[in-house]
Amino acid sequence: MTGHIRPITAVAIIFFLVCAVAPLFVASWATLFALILAKGIVVLGIVLLLQAGQVSFGHAMFFAIGAYTAAFWSKYIGGGDILLFLALAGITSALFGLIVGLFVVRYREIFFGMLNLAFSMVLWSLLEKMFHYTNGADGIRVPRPPVLGYSFTPETFQYVILYMSLVIAVATFYGVQRYLDSPLGHMLRAIKSNETRLEYLGMSARRVLLVGYVISAFLGGIGGTLVAIIQQIATPEFGFWTKSGEFVFIAILGGGAHAFGAFAGAAMFECVRFYAAAHLADSWQLILGIVLIVIILYAPNGLIGLRQRYGQAKQGGH
């Protein structure tokens, strides 16, 4: 059991080290890696729900809630601080996760996915239509916030946000791993294989799923704030269904069997987008489509699954 996890943990450590060091040599990578890490944090939430066998097609709503928390503060109150934004985003997204969760945890599979989608589209419409408060489709600008009172130049700030994203990514990655290894995490996985038995052990499967859902909403909110700060804007598109689809896409790309799949997928996705967009302009989605087809055909368990497959082949295969 632990024999499978340790090599992945090693890969994860190498990945986080690369994120820390590589941008010191190539400045344009700072923002790219910060985006990878921020999206990885969001996808961590998707991977978490995948453990229970549930796919949320509306998780961009928490991503948007995180982004707009920073945006609203900047627009209506002004000033602020990255740490304040992150704290507020964590609280609001978890709170929304709790409210939406009370409804969605009653459903499973396609109904779970679609109800999440419905909730996210309600939020998207509100952001789009309440023009006076949200600037509609134009979105709200998020000026570069200070950190603990210190303001930075754009050149320095890209490193500040990179390392902040890195610290949060490592912390949430560790936290999610601990959670998945804990009794509650094992119960979450038990929902996928046998909810009846879970109830007959005296546990409420809905409550177990609700805890997972709130954590996953929290991760979505944190990631959303980071992306809004990195891109200096929050738009309704943050909560649109294609964004939710993108997160699920990344989770499948990376593989849902392990928390690191979220970051492996995010790295692959953002790198393809970064380079394909530079060379192919409007047809970068085509490249992503081809990547997904290849993954589904040849590595149905995602990038993480590739490693496990190779590891098992080395052991003589099962």
């Binding site: 059991m1 936290g175 601990r178 959670y179 290894d181 804990s182 009794p183 509650l184 995490g185 094992h186 119960m187 996985r189 038990a190 996928k192 294989s193 046998n194 009846t196 038995r197 879970l198 109830e199 007959y200 052990l201 005296g202 546990m203 409420s204 805890v211």
Partner: protein, 247 residues
């Protein structure tokens, strides 16, 4: 007279035109092993489903230690001290046998942690002993999915025992277990139940097992209880022999 642990009164339930329970009255006494026998479709499993809250009866009440548990949720009833082993084992197939057991241990404790490792629970040795008791300790680190049916069945019983229930309901506990091992497992199981003072109700098709391990037998027939008595009385009844046992 022994104390009544579980008491069913006037249970009625129908599935479309099929009468699965038609006025079932039954008392389960503390400390006994009660066998339920009867032809297929007589409503034996339905009785277990009603007693554990999985099905809501059209009429009638079930009380456990004097408390009305009719139509309560399975998890509420489980918490009161009724555990269940299933005819088709209900396990967490993607997790190891030990993880299955520890999930049960964490459920019994209540307020499961979201941060401390499952494998660090202090109940590990206790769960190992339980797996040893039902004879599947060597499978502890295997995924439940990899186990043969008979072994899954035993893990299912161990999961129910892990809850330290007052009453254990088992649906054909040894079906699927190799016949050479049946007696040995039931010997160990019944002596463990006696030692832990667990009352048991088990649905059984094998009359040898009923004769050997039941204190009392209830005979089900088309949603009704045809006869209740000691195994000797029941198995000697010509009507039961003809309609249920088929001799």
């Amino acid at each position: 007279m022994a104390k009544v642990l579980l008491s069913a009164k006037g249970i009625e339930i129908r599935f479309g035109g099929v009468v699965a329970a038609d006025g079932i009255d039954l008392d389960v006494l503390e400390g006994e092993n009660l066998a339920i026998i009867g032809p297929n479709g007589a409503g034996k499993t339905t009785f277990l489903n009603v007693s554990t809250g999985y099905l809501r009866p059209r009429a009638g009440t079930v009380t456990f230690l004097g408390q009305n548990i009719t139509a309560q949720l399975p998890r509420t009833i489980t918490k009161l001290g009724i555990a269940r082993a299933f005819q088709i084992p209900q396990l967490f197939l993607d997790q190891t046998v030990m993880e299955n057991m520890l999930i049960a241990a964490a459920s019994r404790r209540g307020h499961p942690s979201g941060f401390h490792a499952l494998s660090s629970l202090p109940e590990v040795p206790e769960m190992e002993r339980l797996l040893d008791l039902v004879g599947v300790k060597s499978y502890a680190e295997r995924k439940a999915r990899e186990l043969p049916e008979g072994q899954r069945k035993l893990v299912d019983i161990a999961l129910a025992l892990a809850l330290k229930p007052k009453l254990l309901l088992m649906d054909e506990p040894t079906s699927g277990v190799a016949s050479s091992e049946k007696l040995e497992i039931m010997d160990i199981l019944t002596s463990a139940l006696a030692r832990e003072k667990v009352t048991s109700v088990f649905v059984e098709h094998d009359m040898d097992m009923v004769e050997r391990y039941a204190h009392r037998v209830a005979v089900w027939n088309v949603g009704k209880i045809q006869k209740v008595g000691t195994p000797a009385e029941v198995l000697a009844d010509p009507k039961v022999r003809e309609q249920v046992i088929g001799i």
